[in-house]
């Protein structure tokens, strides 16, 4: 089906008519996105009895609205208490939490909401227009390129997030090794499971996320009176609607940043497995690289919130592209959606756009409508949410510990996972106190199983020859970028030191 504005406008009108499905899905999505441990995937699994009984178009609208809203919700605790609700919001902690510490939590939340909504909105519209071409990207990237993409992503995180690149790389590699725990993909032989049956499937991500971010943050917060620094407490307690307006102005000023980082998210989202956690870091790093004030990143810079949040939401439409266009889910949430669609007898793939264009394009149009509803639902709440940063740690720490440890149970429903979260909490505390960035470790754990899958696939094709990792043009270009990303900060620091030395002698 070609580009037909009339047809698409009709779809937009129809989607607005489903406001009674979209609004509850958005509210639920924002809540579960903000609770570490819950995400779109496990919520949709829990709600399968509901979505399977709904008509297919309504079920799809409900699922996509909830999915988009969870990506936005994940940024809320990332800003307020340095705990990303989802892996995709991990990069938001870098500047969002620093803004909260400076008494600018409200502005940071507004930046998060506007960039999420407009990043998601723009990329959803672009997806509708460019769907047939975008679907081709998934074919270009093979196992060799995926190995390099993942190492590149991990390196970027180490370079960007950690104050010390060497420590960042150690944390990332440690995470990657932890991610390899469990049975291997070919022979199902158990490796490094410490004798626990619960680890045969690998390290579950939710307890790792909760431990590394929430429990460790609770332990670190005990040294503080409250999230906001003492000198900024007066400003934070006087926060009012003017702060929301200020956040909107900053968002408007960074509109171009929102647009292009949203597209970074869209393209990375199309590659199966890459996901929001890598996309948001790549966007953050790119934003810092092209900034005139890169030194402000990590200190509470508005652009450091805009870039990862826009990319994080650009991913939402990206992951659905391979699902709808070639029938391959781009992520775990898309896989759950596929189950519901297949239950209703929908055959996914190129023919869907010919046989059922209302459903195929309707997914992305309903995303557009969900984002429109989202901005009006969530923006006025920023002022009240920001008050969390003024709660005393003697109250906040118990709430974080109690609520998140329960979240560790939610994904697999094993009590063992609560113990695992506690163990990761201690590991995260050690990492935070000694400046080994926990984000690099978490991303290592997230991509560990996929990294192994692609690495072993590439090595099997080459009969164990490691040279295969340097056999593709695209892969070699990415290797080049990886080396550059490691060298550039070092060269920049050296040039800066040289300039300072020349100034002092001159």
């Amino acid at each position: 089906m070609g580009w037909d504005p009339g047809f698409l406008l009709e779809l937009v009108g129809t989607s607005f008519g489903y406001w009674w499905i979209i609004v509850p899905a958005v509210v639920l999505g924002v809540i579960v996105g903000a609770v570490p441990g819950f995400n779109a995937q496990n919520t949709l699994i829990i709600l399968l009895p509901l979505t399977l009984t709904m008509a297919v178009d309504k079920a799809l609208i409900f699922m996509t609205s909830l999915y988009c809203a969870t990506h936005l919700g994940g940024g809320i605790p990332a800003i307020l208490v340095n705990i990303p609700g989802t892996g995709g919001a991990a990069a938001t902690t870098l500047d969002g939490y620093q803004m909260a510490r400076k008494g600018q939590a409200q502005q940071a939340l507004v930046l998060c909401f506007t960039s999420s909504v407009f990043g998601g909105l723009i990329t959803s519209i672009a997806t509708v227009a460019l769907l047939p071409w975008l679907a081709q990207i998934g074919y270009v990237v093979r196992s060799v390129e995926m190995v390099v993409v993942m190492l590149f992503g991990l390196t970027l995180i180490a370079v960007v997030a950690a104050q010390d690149t060497l420590k960042g790389l150690i944390a990332g590699m440690f995470g990657l090794l932890i991610g390899a725990i469990g049975t291997d993909h070919i022979y199902s032989a158990p490796r490094a499971t410490f004798g626990f049956l619960e680890l045969l499937d690998g390290v579950p991500l939710v307890p790792a996320l909760i431990g590394l971010f929430a429990i460790s943050e609770a332990l670190v917060l005990l040294d503080e009176e409250m999230v906001v620094r003492r000198e900024a407490q007066g400003r934070a307690s006087r926060a009012n609607w003017a702060d929301t307006i200020e956040g909107l102005k900053w968002s408007l000023k960074g509109w171009w940043q929102i647009v292009w980082t949203g597209f970074v998210g869209l393209i990375i989202g199309i590659v199966p497995g890459a996901g929001a956690s890598i996309a948001s870091f790549v966007a953050y790093q790119q934003s810092r690289m092209f900034s005139k004030t890169p030194e402000l990143y990590g200190t509470g810079h508005p652009a450091g919130v805009l870039a990862p949040e826009s990319a994080n939401n650009g991913v939402t439409s990206g992951t659905l592209v391979p699902l709808m266009a070639i029938g391959v889910p781009g992520g775990s949430t898309a896989a759950v959606m596929m189950i519901v669609l297949q239950y209703h007898g929908v055959v996914l793939g190129p023919r869907l756009f010919v046989e059922n264009p209302v459903l195929a394009y309707g997914v992305f149009v309903s995303m557009v409508v969900a984002y429109v509803f989202m901005i009006f639902t969530i923006l006025p709440l920023a002022r009240y949410m920001a008050r969390v940063t003024l709660v005393a740690t003697s109250t906040l720490v118990p709430i974080i510990a109690a609520c998140t440890i329960v979240g560790a149970f939610a994904d697999r429903e094993y009590l063992f996972d609560m113990w695992l979260a506690l163990a990761f909490g201690v590991l995260g505390y050690l990492a935070r106190k000694t400046n080994f960035h926990v984000t690099a470790m978490l991303i290592g754990i997230i991509i560990g199983p996929l990294f192994e899958q692609y690495l072993v696939r590439a090595l099997r094709l080459s009969q164990g020859d490691l040279g295969v990792l340097f056999s593709s043009t695209l892969g070699n270009v990415l290797w080049g970028f990886l080396v550059l990303s490691l060298l550039l900060p070092y060269l920049r620091r050296r040039r800066g030191a040289k300039a300072v030395a020349e100034e002092s002698t001159g």
Partner: protein, 169 residues
């Protein structure tokens, strides 16, 4: 202090703490190598490649720390991990009480368990009056019940409160 004077113990960077996580990394990589030594190459490829890279990076860090210590600019103190000492008992209490909660949750259920955990933690951390502690614990427990049990119907352990509410409504 004159510019040429060597740094005193208080001025030195405490880098001993920097070696704690790498030590855990070395131990884990060693255990991983042992666990895959008899497996086919496909099953140990990741462990060997990633583990070797991890050990190489750790070796670089250890060398960097030792060079700074040898130059007199740093010490092997664990200060970043043990300071400030006044909050260490609270930290241990948070870990201990959370562990106790996990042990007891099959009998207490999620609602009563969360109520007791939140209340105990707030009391230990000195969160204020009993009224405030009871109110906050009650809100946390009620929210968890509504979200996890009533709305999402998750399989979190049910205890006396959940059974009572199920029988009532």
């Amino acid at each position: 202090m004159s510019e040429s004077a060597p740094p005193g113990p208080a001025d030195k960077a405490a880098l001993g703490a920097d070696l704690v996580l790498p030590a855990l990394g070395v131990a884990f990589a060693g255990y991983f190598f042992l666990s895959v030594q008899d497996l086919a190459w496909e099953a140990k490829a990741t462990a060997v490649i990633v583990g070797a890279a991890l050990l190489a990076l750790i070796a670089l860090l250890v060398a960097r720390v030792l060079l700074r210590v040898a130059a007199g600019g740093a010490s092997l103190s664990l200060a970043p991990l043990i300071e400030p000492r006044r909050t260490q008992p609270q930290r241990l209490a948070v870990l201990g009480l959370t562990g106790l909660f996990i042990v007891a949750i099959p009998w207490l259920g999620v609602t009563l368990g969360l109520f007791l955990l939140t209340g105990a933690l707030m009391a230990v951390l000195g969160a204020g009056s009993w009224r405030r502690i009871l109110a906050t614990s009650g809100i946390v427990a009620a929210t968890a019940y509504l979200l996890f049990i009533a709305l999402l119907d998750s399989r979190l352990p049910r205890g006396p409160i959940e059974k009572l509410l199920a029988a009532t409504f």
